[in-house]
Protein backbone atom coordinates (compact mmCIF):
# COMPACT_ATOMS: atom_id res chain seq x y z
CA UNK A 1 0.00 0.00 0.00
CA UNK A 2 1.22 3.48 -0.81
CA UNK A 3 -0.18 6.70 0.69
CA UNK A 4 -1.33 9.56 -1.51
CA UNK A 5 1.11 12.49 -1.20
CA UNK A 6 0.61 14.38 2.06
CA UNK A 7 1.86 17.76 3.07
CA UNK A 8 1.72 19.45 6.45
CA UNK A 9 2.35 23.17 6.48
CA UNK A 10 2.90 24.94 9.75
CA UNK A 11 3.06 28.69 9.27
CA UNK A 12 3.87 31.39 11.78
CA UNK A 13 2.83 29.24 14.73
CA UNK A 14 3.21 30.85 18.14
CA UNK A 15 2.32 29.48 21.51
CA UNK A 16 2.40 30.89 24.99
CA UNK A 17 1.74 28.77 28.06
CA UNK A 18 1.71 29.79 31.68
CA UNK A 19 3.11 33.18 30.71
CA UNK A 20 6.01 31.62 28.83
CA UNK A 21 6.57 31.91 25.10
CA UNK A 22 7.27 28.34 23.94
CA UNK A 23 7.71 29.01 20.27
CA UNK A 24 7.31 32.11 18.22
CA UNK A 25 6.61 32.44 14.50
CA UNK A 26 7.50 28.83 13.82
CA UNK A 27 7.18 27.70 10.20
CA UNK A 28 7.87 24.18 9.01
CA UNK A 29 6.67 22.17 6.02
CA UNK A 30 6.72 18.40 5.90
CA UNK A 31 6.05 16.19 2.92
CA UNK A 32 5.53 12.50 2.30
CA UNK A 33 8.63 10.54 3.16
CA UNK A 34 10.01 12.95 5.74
CA UNK A 35 10.81 12.35 9.37
CA UNK A 36 11.09 15.27 11.76
CA UNK A 37 12.51 15.03 15.22
CA UNK A 38 11.45 17.83 17.53
CA UNK A 39 14.33 18.37 19.92
CA UNK A 40 15.01 20.64 22.85
CA UNK A 41 15.47 20.60 26.61
CA UNK A 42 12.68 19.71 29.06
CA UNK A 43 9.97 22.33 29.06
CA UNK A 44 10.91 23.66 25.63
CA UNK A 45 7.43 22.94 24.27
CA UNK A 46 8.05 19.70 22.37
CA UNK A 47 4.91 18.01 23.64
CA UNK A 48 2.88 21.19 23.18
CA UNK A 49 4.03 21.46 19.56
CA UNK A 50 3.20 17.82 18.87
CA UNK A 51 -0.21 18.14 20.52
CA UNK A 52 -0.89 21.31 18.54
CA UNK A 53 -0.05 19.58 15.26
CA UNK A 54 -2.25 16.66 16.34
CA UNK A 55 -5.15 19.08 16.87
CA UNK A 56 -5.37 18.38 20.60
CA UNK A 57 -4.08 21.76 21.68
CA UNK A 58 -5.79 24.82 20.24
CA UNK A 59 -3.77 26.98 17.87
CA UNK A 60 -3.16 30.35 19.52
CA UNK A 61 -1.58 32.11 16.60
CA UNK A 62 -0.67 30.85 13.16
CA UNK A 63 -1.99 28.26 10.73
CA UNK A 64 -1.57 24.52 10.33
CA UNK A 65 -2.78 22.96 7.11
CA UNK A 66 -2.79 19.40 5.87
CA UNK A 67 -2.96 19.21 2.07
CA UNK A 68 -4.21 22.80 2.05
CA UNK A 69 -7.09 21.93 4.38
CA UNK A 70 -7.51 23.14 7.96
CA UNK A 71 -6.01 20.73 10.45
CA UNK A 72 -9.29 20.02 12.27
CA UNK A 73 -10.76 18.47 9.11
CA UNK A 74 -7.90 16.03 8.74
CA UNK A 75 -7.63 14.46 12.18
CA UNK A 76 -8.61 11.05 10.82
CA UNK A 77 -5.33 10.99 8.88
CA UNK A 78 -3.33 11.20 12.09
CA UNK A 79 -2.11 8.63 14.56
CA UNK A 80 -1.06 10.34 17.76
CA UNK A 81 0.70 8.46 20.51
CA UNK A 82 1.37 10.65 23.49
CA UNK A 83 3.26 9.89 26.64
CA UNK A 84 0.20 8.96 28.62
CA UNK A 85 -0.33 5.16 28.55
CA UNK A 86 -3.14 5.38 25.93
CA UNK A 87 -4.36 2.00 27.09
CA UNK A 88 -6.96 0.98 29.65
CA UNK A 89 -5.50 -1.12 32.44
CA UNK A 90 -8.62 -3.18 33.08
CA UNK A 91 -8.96 -4.39 29.49
CA UNK A 92 -6.98 -7.05 27.68
CA UNK A 93 -4.31 -6.16 25.16
CA UNK A 94 -6.50 -7.24 22.27
CA UNK A 95 -9.61 -5.39 23.56
CA UNK A 96 -7.60 -2.23 23.95
CA UNK A 97 -6.49 -2.40 20.37
CA UNK A 98 -9.95 -3.35 19.12
CA UNK A 99 -11.56 -0.23 20.55
CA UNK A 100 -9.47 2.23 18.59
CA UNK A 101 -9.43 0.50 15.22
CA UNK A 102 -11.90 -1.37 13.08
CA UNK A 103 -9.19 -3.51 11.49
CA UNK A 104 -10.06 -7.21 11.37
CA UNK A 105 -8.96 -9.63 14.04
CA UNK A 106 -6.19 -11.26 11.97
CA UNK A 107 -4.61 -7.87 11.34
CA UNK A 108 -4.71 -7.02 15.05
CA UNK A 109 -3.16 -10.37 15.95
CA UNK A 110 -0.36 -9.74 13.50
CA UNK A 111 0.22 -6.24 14.86
CA UNK A 112 0.53 -7.61 18.38
CA UNK A 113 2.94 -10.29 17.20
CA UNK A 114 5.02 -7.57 15.56
CA UNK A 115 5.41 -5.65 18.80
CA UNK A 116 6.40 -8.81 20.64
CA UNK A 117 3.16 -9.34 22.51
CA UNK A 118 2.58 -12.79 21.09
CA UNK A 119 0.92 -14.85 23.77
CA UNK A 120 -0.24 -11.80 25.68
CA UNK A 121 -3.35 -11.06 23.62
CA UNK A 122 -5.70 -11.96 26.41
CA UNK A 123 -3.66 -10.57 29.28
CA UNK A 124 -4.97 -7.54 31.06
CA UNK A 125 -2.77 -4.52 30.52
CA UNK A 126 -2.40 -4.07 34.27
CA UNK A 127 -0.65 -7.44 34.39
CA UNK A 128 1.99 -6.31 31.91
CA UNK A 129 5.21 -4.44 32.50
CA UNK A 130 5.44 -0.77 31.59
CA UNK A 131 7.39 -1.55 28.43
CA UNK A 132 4.84 -4.12 27.37
CA UNK A 133 2.04 -1.61 27.96
CA UNK A 134 3.92 0.81 25.75
CA UNK A 135 4.20 -1.87 23.07
CA UNK A 136 0.46 -2.36 23.26
CA UNK A 137 -0.09 1.34 22.59
CA UNK A 138 2.42 1.27 19.72
CA UNK A 139 0.76 -1.75 18.13
CA UNK A 140 -1.63 0.67 16.46
CA UNK A 141 1.21 1.69 14.13
CA UNK A 142 0.98 -1.77 12.62
CA UNK A 143 -2.76 -2.00 12.09
CA UNK A 144 -4.18 1.51 11.57
CA UNK A 145 -3.62 3.13 8.20
CA UNK A 146 -3.00 6.85 8.55
CA UNK A 147 -0.28 8.78 6.76
CA UNK A 148 0.67 11.16 9.56
CA UNK A 149 2.32 9.78 12.66
CA UNK A 150 2.88 11.98 15.67
CA UNK A 151 4.82 10.14 18.34
CA UNK A 152 5.70 11.73 21.67
CA UNK A 153 8.61 9.93 23.31
CA UNK A 154 7.81 6.60 21.61
CA UNK A 155 11.06 5.00 22.79
CA UNK A 156 10.38 5.48 26.49
CA UNK A 157 10.42 2.15 28.36
CA UNK A 158 11.28 0.17 25.22
CA UNK A 159 14.19 -2.28 25.14
CA UNK A 160 16.85 -2.14 22.44
CA UNK A 161 15.20 -4.81 20.34
CA UNK A 162 11.81 -3.10 20.33
CA UNK A 163 13.41 0.28 19.64
CA UNK A 164 14.97 -1.22 16.51
CA UNK A 165 11.66 -2.75 15.47
CA UNK A 166 10.04 0.67 15.86
CA UNK A 167 12.79 2.31 13.79
CA UNK A 168 12.23 -0.23 11.07
CA UNK A 169 8.50 0.37 11.14
CA UNK A 170 8.96 4.14 10.89
CA UNK A 171 11.29 3.68 7.91
CA UNK A 172 8.74 1.40 6.28
CA UNK A 173 6.02 4.01 6.88
CA UNK A 174 7.90 6.89 5.28
CA UNK A 175 8.99 4.67 2.42
CA UNK A 176 5.34 4.30 1.37
CA UNK A 177 4.71 8.03 1.58
CA UNK A 178 3.98 8.60 5.25
CA UNK A 179 5.16 11.41 7.52
CA UNK A 180 6.53 11.00 11.01
CA UNK A 181 7.00 13.64 13.71
CA UNK A 182 8.53 12.50 16.95
CA UNK A 183 10.39 13.54 20.06
CA UNK A 184 12.93 11.57 22.00
CA UNK A 185 15.86 12.02 24.31
CA UNK A 186 17.60 8.89 22.97
CA UNK A 187 18.48 9.70 19.34
CA UNK A 188 17.66 6.62 17.26
CA UNK A 189 20.51 5.26 15.12
CA UNK A 190 18.61 3.84 12.22
CA UNK A 191 16.48 6.80 11.19
CA UNK A 192 17.26 9.50 8.72
CA UNK A 193 15.56 12.54 10.21
CA UNK A 194 15.59 16.32 10.20
CA UNK A 195 15.81 18.16 13.48
CA UNK A 196 13.70 21.04 14.70
CA UNK A 197 15.34 22.58 17.73
CA UNK A 198 13.04 24.30 20.22
CA UNK A 199 13.89 26.27 23.28
CA UNK A 200 15.71 29.42 22.16
CA UNK A 201 12.83 31.84 21.96
CA UNK A 202 13.58 34.63 24.42
Amino acid sequence: MIFAPVKIEISALSCERDDRLLFNNLSVALESGQILRVAGPNGAGKTTLLRTVAGLFGIQDGVIQVNQLPLQECLDQIIYIGHKPQVTKDLTVLDNLKFLTDADEACLQKALDNVGLKGYHDSLVKELSQGQGRRCALARLWCVEAPIWILDEPYTALDVGMAKTLDARINEHVAVGGICLFTTHQPPQQLDYQILELGDVD
Binding site: R51, I79, Y80, Q86, T88, L91, K98, D102
Partner: protein, 224 residues
Protein backbone atom coordinates in the same frame (compact mmCIF):
# COMPACT_ATOMS: atom_id res chain seq x y z
CA UNK B 1 -17.55 -3.31 13.88
CA UNK B 2 -18.71 0.29 13.99
CA UNK B 3 -17.26 2.56 16.64
CA UNK B 4 -20.66 2.79 18.38
CA UNK B 5 -20.80 -0.97 18.77
CA UNK B 6 -17.16 -1.08 19.89
CA UNK B 7 -17.90 1.55 22.50
CA UNK B 8 -20.80 -0.46 23.92
CA UNK B 9 -18.77 -3.67 23.92
CA UNK B 10 -15.88 -1.92 25.64
CA UNK B 11 -18.22 -0.51 28.28
CA UNK B 12 -19.59 -4.00 28.99
CA UNK B 13 -16.12 -5.46 29.27
CA UNK B 14 -15.07 -2.71 31.65
CA UNK B 15 -18.06 -3.47 33.85
CA UNK B 16 -17.12 -7.14 33.85
CA UNK B 17 -13.63 -6.11 34.91
CA UNK B 18 -14.79 -3.78 37.68
CA UNK B 19 -18.21 -4.96 38.84
CA UNK B 20 -17.87 -2.83 41.97
CA UNK B 21 -18.64 0.25 39.90
CA UNK B 22 -22.21 -0.98 39.51
CA UNK B 23 -22.72 -2.48 42.92
CA UNK B 24 -21.36 0.27 45.09
CA UNK B 25 -23.97 2.87 44.08
CA UNK B 26 -26.77 0.29 44.54
CA UNK B 27 -25.36 -0.57 47.93
CA UNK B 28 -25.23 3.16 48.71
CA UNK B 29 -28.91 3.61 47.79
CA UNK B 30 -30.01 0.79 50.07
CA UNK B 31 -27.86 2.12 52.91
CA UNK B 32 -29.35 5.59 52.62
CA UNK B 33 -32.83 4.05 52.58
CA UNK B 34 -32.00 2.05 55.72
CA UNK B 35 -30.98 5.25 57.47
CA UNK B 36 -34.41 6.84 56.95
CA UNK B 37 -36.40 4.78 59.49
CA UNK B 38 -33.46 4.93 61.88
CA UNK B 39 -33.32 8.70 61.70
CA UNK B 40 -37.10 9.16 61.68
CA UNK B 41 -39.20 6.41 63.27
CA UNK B 42 -40.13 2.88 62.24
CA UNK B 43 -43.69 4.08 61.72
CA UNK B 44 -44.83 2.49 58.46
CA UNK B 45 -47.48 5.10 57.71
CA UNK B 46 -45.04 7.94 58.11
CA UNK B 47 -42.45 6.09 56.04
CA UNK B 48 -44.95 5.42 53.28
CA UNK B 49 -45.71 9.12 53.12
CA UNK B 50 -42.14 10.28 52.60
CA UNK B 51 -40.80 6.98 51.21
CA UNK B 52 -41.09 7.70 47.50
CA UNK B 53 -39.40 11.10 47.85
CA UNK B 54 -36.60 9.55 49.92
CA UNK B 55 -36.02 6.86 47.31
CA UNK B 56 -35.94 9.52 44.63
CA UNK B 57 -33.32 11.53 46.46
CA UNK B 58 -31.25 8.45 47.33
CA UNK B 59 -31.27 7.31 43.71
CA UNK B 60 -30.33 10.79 42.57
CA UNK B 61 -27.35 10.84 44.93
CA UNK B 62 -26.26 7.37 43.83
CA UNK B 63 -26.47 8.46 40.21
CA UNK B 64 -24.31 11.47 40.97
CA UNK B 65 -21.88 9.21 42.77
CA UNK B 66 -21.39 6.89 39.82
CA UNK B 67 -21.37 9.55 37.12
CA UNK B 68 -18.97 11.88 38.87
CA UNK B 69 -15.91 10.17 37.37
CA UNK B 70 -17.49 9.20 34.07
CA UNK B 71 -14.56 10.31 31.91
CA UNK B 72 -11.83 10.49 34.53
CA UNK B 73 -9.89 7.27 34.00
CA UNK B 74 -10.08 7.49 30.20
CA UNK B 75 -8.87 11.05 30.47
CA UNK B 76 -5.87 10.31 32.66
CA UNK B 77 -4.95 7.21 30.63
CA UNK B 78 -4.95 9.31 27.47
CA UNK B 79 -7.63 7.15 25.86
CA UNK B 80 -10.16 9.99 25.77
CA UNK B 81 -7.93 12.13 23.55
CA UNK B 82 -7.86 9.27 21.03
CA UNK B 83 -11.61 9.81 20.51
CA UNK B 84 -10.74 12.96 18.61
CA UNK B 85 -9.05 10.91 15.90
CA UNK B 86 -12.01 8.61 15.34
CA UNK B 87 -14.09 9.51 12.32
CA UNK B 88 -17.16 10.59 14.28
CA UNK B 89 -17.96 13.96 15.85
CA UNK B 90 -16.93 14.03 19.49
CA UNK B 91 -20.45 15.01 20.60
CA UNK B 92 -21.79 11.87 18.93
CA UNK B 93 -19.28 9.65 20.71
CA UNK B 94 -20.11 11.37 23.99
CA UNK B 95 -23.78 10.62 23.33
CA UNK B 96 -22.99 6.95 22.79
CA UNK B 97 -20.93 6.88 25.98
CA UNK B 98 -23.78 8.50 27.94
CA UNK B 99 -26.28 6.00 26.58
CA UNK B 100 -23.97 3.13 27.51
CA UNK B 101 -23.52 4.59 30.96
CA UNK B 102 -27.25 4.96 31.43
CA UNK B 103 -27.93 1.41 30.26
CA UNK B 104 -25.24 -0.31 32.27
CA UNK B 105 -24.77 1.88 35.33
CA UNK B 106 -27.94 3.90 35.89
CA UNK B 107 -30.57 1.33 34.97
CA UNK B 108 -29.45 -1.08 37.73
CA UNK B 109 -30.06 1.72 40.24
CA UNK B 110 -33.64 2.01 39.02
CA UNK B 111 -34.13 -1.74 39.07
CA UNK B 112 -33.54 -1.93 42.82
CA UNK B 113 -36.09 0.78 43.68
CA UNK B 114 -38.86 -1.84 44.26
CA UNK B 115 -36.73 -3.31 47.03
CA UNK B 116 -36.21 0.14 48.53
CA UNK B 117 -39.96 0.74 48.17
CA UNK B 118 -40.75 -2.38 50.18
CA UNK B 119 -38.34 -1.28 52.89
CA UNK B 120 -40.23 2.01 53.26
CA UNK B 121 -43.75 0.54 52.86
CA UNK B 122 -44.48 2.49 49.68
CA UNK B 123 -47.75 1.42 48.05
CA UNK B 124 -47.66 -0.47 44.77
CA UNK B 125 -49.26 2.29 42.69
CA UNK B 126 -46.83 4.89 43.95
CA UNK B 127 -43.95 2.49 43.50
CA UNK B 128 -44.93 1.93 39.88
CA UNK B 129 -45.11 5.69 39.32
CA UNK B 130 -41.73 6.11 41.00
CA UNK B 131 -40.21 3.45 38.77
CA UNK B 132 -41.55 5.01 35.57
CA UNK B 133 -40.58 8.50 36.69
CA UNK B 134 -37.01 7.41 37.28
CA UNK B 135 -36.88 5.70 33.89
CA UNK B 136 -38.07 8.87 32.17
CA UNK B 137 -36.08 11.39 34.23
CA UNK B 138 -32.68 9.75 34.67
CA UNK B 139 -31.49 10.33 31.08
CA UNK B 140 -31.58 14.08 31.73
CA UNK B 141 -29.87 13.67 35.09
CA UNK B 142 -27.19 11.45 33.54
CA UNK B 143 -26.50 14.03 30.84
CA UNK B 144 -26.15 16.89 33.32
CA UNK B 145 -23.94 15.03 35.73
CA UNK B 146 -21.87 13.85 32.77
CA UNK B 147 -21.38 17.52 31.92
CA UNK B 148 -20.26 18.20 35.48
CA UNK B 149 -17.78 15.34 35.21
CA UNK B 150 -16.44 16.63 31.89
CA UNK B 151 -16.11 20.23 33.02
CA UNK B 152 -13.92 19.35 35.98
CA UNK B 153 -11.76 16.71 34.23
CA UNK B 154 -8.58 18.68 34.04
CA UNK B 155 -8.52 20.26 37.46
CA UNK B 156 -6.75 18.20 40.05
CA UNK B 157 -8.41 19.79 43.04
CA UNK B 158 -12.00 19.70 41.85
CA UNK B 159 -13.28 17.10 44.37
CA UNK B 160 -17.06 16.93 44.13
CA UNK B 161 -17.18 20.24 42.29
CA UNK B 162 -18.76 18.65 39.23
CA UNK B 163 -21.68 17.54 41.38
CA UNK B 164 -22.06 20.89 43.11
CA UNK B 165 -22.01 22.76 39.85
CA UNK B 166 -24.68 20.61 38.20
CA UNK B 167 -27.11 19.99 41.06
CA UNK B 168 -29.01 23.29 40.69
CA UNK B 169 -29.88 22.21 37.15
CA UNK B 170 -31.67 19.16 38.53
CA UNK B 171 -34.37 21.33 40.08
CA UNK B 172 -36.97 21.12 37.27
CA UNK B 173 -36.56 17.36 37.01
CA UNK B 174 -36.93 16.83 40.74
CA UNK B 175 -39.99 19.09 40.88
CA UNK B 176 -41.74 17.39 37.97
CA UNK B 177 -40.96 13.99 39.43
CA UNK B 178 -42.38 15.06 42.78
CA UNK B 179 -45.50 16.19 40.93
CA UNK B 180 -45.87 12.74 39.39
CA UNK B 181 -45.51 11.07 42.78
CA UNK B 182 -48.09 13.37 44.39
CA UNK B 183 -50.57 12.71 41.61
CA UNK B 184 -49.91 8.98 41.81
CA UNK B 185 -50.62 9.11 45.56
CA UNK B 186 -54.00 10.78 45.14
CA UNK B 187 -54.77 8.74 42.05
CA UNK B 188 -54.96 11.49 39.42
CA UNK B 189 -53.54 11.51 35.91
CA UNK B 190 -49.73 11.41 35.81
CA UNK B 191 -49.32 11.19 32.04
CA UNK B 192 -48.98 14.93 31.24
CA UNK B 193 -46.18 15.35 33.77
CA UNK B 194 -44.42 12.22 32.60
CA UNK B 195 -44.60 13.55 29.06
CA UNK B 196 -43.00 16.82 30.21
CA UNK B 197 -40.25 14.92 32.00
CA UNK B 198 -39.69 12.82 28.92
CA UNK B 199 -39.46 15.92 26.77
CA UNK B 200 -36.90 17.38 29.15
CA UNK B 201 -34.84 14.21 28.91
CA UNK B 202 -35.00 14.14 25.13
CA UNK B 203 -33.92 17.77 24.85
CA UNK B 204 -31.12 17.25 27.38
CA UNK B 205 -29.94 14.15 25.53
CA UNK B 206 -29.71 16.04 22.25
CA UNK B 207 -28.11 19.26 23.49
CA UNK B 208 -25.98 18.37 26.49
CA UNK B 209 -23.56 16.05 24.60
CA UNK B 210 -22.49 19.08 22.55
CA UNK B 211 -21.63 20.95 25.75
CA UNK B 212 -19.90 17.85 27.13
CA UNK B 213 -17.75 17.54 24.02
CA UNK B 214 -16.75 21.20 24.29
CA UNK B 215 -15.83 20.62 27.94
CA UNK B 216 -13.76 17.55 27.07
CA UNK B 217 -11.98 19.40 24.27
CA UNK B 218 -11.01 22.29 26.50
CA UNK B 219 -9.70 19.97 29.19
CA UNK B 220 -7.69 17.93 26.69
CA UNK B 221 -6.30 21.19 25.35
CA UNK B 222 -4.92 22.04 28.77
CA UNK B 223 -3.21 18.78 29.59
CA UNK B 224 -0.01 17.21 28.40
Amino acid sequence: MSIEKRMLVRELKLIAARPGDIFKPMWFTLLVISMVPLALAPDSQLLAEIGSAMIWVATLLALLLNTEHLFQSDFSDGVLEQWLFLDRPLAWLVGVKLIAHWLFNVLPLILITPVAGLMLSVSTEVLLALFITLLVATPALTCFSGLGAALTLGSSRSGILGVLVMMPLFVPVVILAAGVLIRATDGSDTLPLLALLGAFSVIAATLVPVAVSAAIRLNIGGSN
